[in-house]
């Protein structure tokens, strides 16, 4: 086993994990505050990708600029989705909540299919082929940037939750719904914000990946599943958990690809880990608190 190959694998695993972390952070924030598992999570990632793609082919806008534009837009989209679709079922049985987001996922995937056809698209940027050398390992520039921004975004969100008043209010809602109402927190608005933030995160993650990942209507589902795995591993509702969990899963997948025989085996490894956690330690690594 070549040490260069090994360190290459580890680094690319960590980079991938950084993006996974951002995806899972959105999911875990939504679950932490509202106790809703968003089965349509990955489909918002897909929407983010198409957003960047459209801006690129129509107006030639660089994806990283699109990312900045996307943040408020997708935050708003999440706000609206929460208000109109999620809020009515917050008191409904859990199964109905799940089915609602499944329906949303079904709708979004096929809306994209309808609007954009099943053909895989890709977003070409002039610097897409550049590499960067970190500690002797050569990595793709765009993957590196994606991961750095993703981790930075996750950390920013963490600081927001831990240090600001609004973040404190969100954490209060996550922990104690009735108590928050009693002290005058506008819980409804908190839910809108949490969902908006979650969607903004996952759309950002998608846009960051456009320089090196294919775009298709069905690209969301594997990311939704991965987000679940990461979030459960880290502890549903825990932001640090999602961050660490993302890195771990990224590593597992990368190392899995190296050591196991076929690509489908690496996915099997991920799902097996997932099942083991669900069964043996459902609270994951960090239990359930947001920060």
């Amino acid at each position: 086993m070549n040490s260069v190959v090994l360190s290459q694998t580890v680094v690319s695993g960590l980079l991938l994990g950084g993006v996974y972390a951002l995806v899972a952070v959105g999911l875990t924030l939504i679950f932490g505050v509202m106790k809703i598992l968003n089965f349509a999570h990955g489909d918002f990632l897909m929407l983010g990708m198409y957003f960047a793609f459209l801006l690129s082919i129509m107006f030639g806008i660089d994806p990283y600029i699109s990312a900045v534009l996307a943040l408020p837009l997708f935050f708003g989209l999440g706000w609206i989705v929460q208000s109109c679709l999620i809020r009515p079922v917050l008191r409904a049985p859990e199964n109905i909540q799940i089915l609602l987001t499944v329906g949303l996922s079904l709708f979004l995937q096929n809306l994209a299919l309808f609007l954009f056809s099943p053909d895989f698209q890709s977003l070409r940027v002039s610097y897409g082929g550049n590499t960067v050398s970190i500690m002797g390992v050569s990595i793709s520039y765009v993957r590196f940037i994606a991961s750095m921004i993703a981790v930075a975004a996750s950390l920013t969100l963490y600081l927001f939750l831990a240090r600001t008043d609004l973040g404190k209010a969100l954490r209060a809602c996550a922990e104690e719904h009735l108590g928050s109402l009693a002290v005058g927190i506008n819980v409804d608005r908190m839910y809108n914000i949490a969902f908006g933030l979650g969607i903004a995160c996952v759309a950002l993650a998608g846009i960051l990946m456009t320089p090196f990942f294919y775009i298709s209507p069905q690209v969301g589902l594997p990311f939704t599943l991965t987000a679940f795995v990461v979030a459960v591993l880290g502890g549903l509702g825990s932001l640090p958990g999602a961050l660490i969990g993302g890195l771990i899963i990224g590593l597992i997948e990368s190392l899995g690809e190296l050591f196991l025989l076929a690509p489908s085996m690496k996915q099997m490894a991920t799902f097996s880990v997932f099942l083991l956690i669900l069964l043996l330690r459902p609270r994951g690594l960090f239990g359930g608190k947001l920060t």
């Binding site: 598992l37 459209l54 082919i57 129509m58 679709l85 009515p88 079922v89 409904a92 049985p93 859990e94 199964n95 109905i96 799940i98 089915l99 609602l100 499944v102 329906g103 949303l104 996922s105 079904l106 709708f107 979004l108 995937q109 096929n110 809306l111 994209a112 299919l113 309808f114 609007l115 954009f116 056809s117 099943p118 053909d119 698209q121 209507p217 589902l221 599943l225 679940f228 459960v232 076929a262 489908s264 085996m265 996915q267 099997m268 799902f271 097996s272 997932f274 099942l275 669900l278 069964l279 043996l280 459902p282």
Partner: protein, 358 residues
């Protein structure tokens, strides 16, 4: 009154193959549809209704939302198909073995999940994980044909080998399966098993306190649901004569199965049947009305070109009107599911029943 309507409808269904190929029908139907495709639509209605009923036992009655039923479907299909292609075993026997294996897997999934007290979304996630493992196994293992799947050699008409050159025999078999499973659900609903499952769905602790062995009954539901779903898999394999993981083992298929049950009314006897009759024709209708999947590459080129904005928009508009990239029916399904969750979460059948009572 309703019984007479149902009986008449059943007679209509029984006689349909007889006149499906006739001239009258050919003249009435929209272009692109033939007698054979008419039978195909009904057959799919029956099959999906059957699968939805099977899911109904676990997901509707017992209230355990499984999104992994495609795995049981696939296990049934692969078992009978491989036994046939490798050992020449009659698919009827293969169906029974497939049901047993699917049932065993259902028992396993249930046992593990309930033992570790997985409830609500965690149970659902576990079923997805288990199903994905089955799909990945089928993709990976050599003897299951990997991503190319398995082809059943055409051997003409043979009852013993569960192969027919015409659609009518398949039509009747699937109709029979739907009627049989619905009758089974009807019997279960009036028995202790049915009552217990309904109670477990609504409040497990309360049920335990008054003598219901909730673990045992959930396992019964899981096993029965899985086994019967497996039989559907065998039927599908024999009908299409080609099985491939991307078709029959996906989460998407699991979602389509539960859609009929949820929208029709989960936990009811007729819900899945009604759901299937409501939903399945939509898919076929959109397939016919839209001329088919447009080319995404052409659209991308159009947008990247120097054409005027008006030209781009009108080009895109005609792309959409022609059916866009496909997916119209499933989009509608998604909207209907959202609508159901928001407005009538118990499904269409209970909603209509409540109206009728007033």
């Amino acid at each position: 009154m309703r019984l007479i309507a149902a009986a008449l409808f059943l007679v209509f269904l029984l006689l349909l193959p007889a006149f499906a190929y006739s001239d009258i029908v050919a003249r009435v139907m929209p272009r692109g549809l033939s007698g054979a495709s008419l039978l195909n639509v009904f057959l799919l209605i029956f099959l999906f209704g059957y699968l939805a009923q099977c899911w109904n036992i676990l997901g509707g009655f017992a209230g355990q939302l499984s999104l992994g039923h495609a795995a049981f479907f696939g296990i049934g299909a692969y078992t009978s198909t491989l036994l046939f292609t490798i050992f020449g075993l009659s698919p009827w026997i293969g169906m029974i073995l497939g049901m047993s294996l699917a049932g065993l897997f259902g028992l396993f999934v249930g046992f593990v999940s309930f033992h570790y007290r997985l409830v609500g979304p965690f149970f659902t996630l576990a079923t997805i994980a288990f199903a994905e493992l089955v799909r990945l196994s089928a993709l990976h293992l050599k003897f299951t044909g990997g991503s190319m799947g398995v082809l059943i050699p055409l051997q003409g008409d043979s009852v013993w080998q569960f192969q027919f050159s015409g659609k009518a025999p398949y039509y009747y078999i699937s109709l029979f399966m739907l009627v049989a499973v619905t009758a089974l659900i009807w019997r279960i609903a009036r028995s202790r098993l049915g009552y217990y499952l309904h109670a477990i769905r609504q409040d497990e602790d309360a049920a335990e306190a008054i003598g219901v062995n909730t673990r045992k009954y959930k396992l019964i539901a899981a096993t029965l649901s899985a086994a019967l779903t497996g039989a559907g898999g065998t039927f599908y394999a024999q009908y299409t004569q080609y099985i491939v993981p991307d078709d029959i083992l996906t989460v998407g298929l699991s979602v389509e199965i539960i859609l009929r049950a949820i929208i029709g009314g989960s936990g009811t006897v007729l819900g899945p049947v009604v759901g299937s009759f409501l939903l399945t024709p939509i898919a076929e209708a959109t397939r016919v009305l839209f001329s088919g999947a447009g080319s995404g590459a052409a659209v991308v080129q159009l947008f990247a070109s120097d054409a005027t904005l008006a030209k781009k928009l009108s080009g895109y508009f005609s792309f959409l009107v022609g059916g866009g990239g496909g997916g119209g029916a499933l989009m509608l399904y998604g909207l209907i599911l959202i609508f159901t969750c928001l407005v009538m979460p118990s499904g269409a059948v209970p909603w209509f029943e409540r109206r009728a009572r007033r």
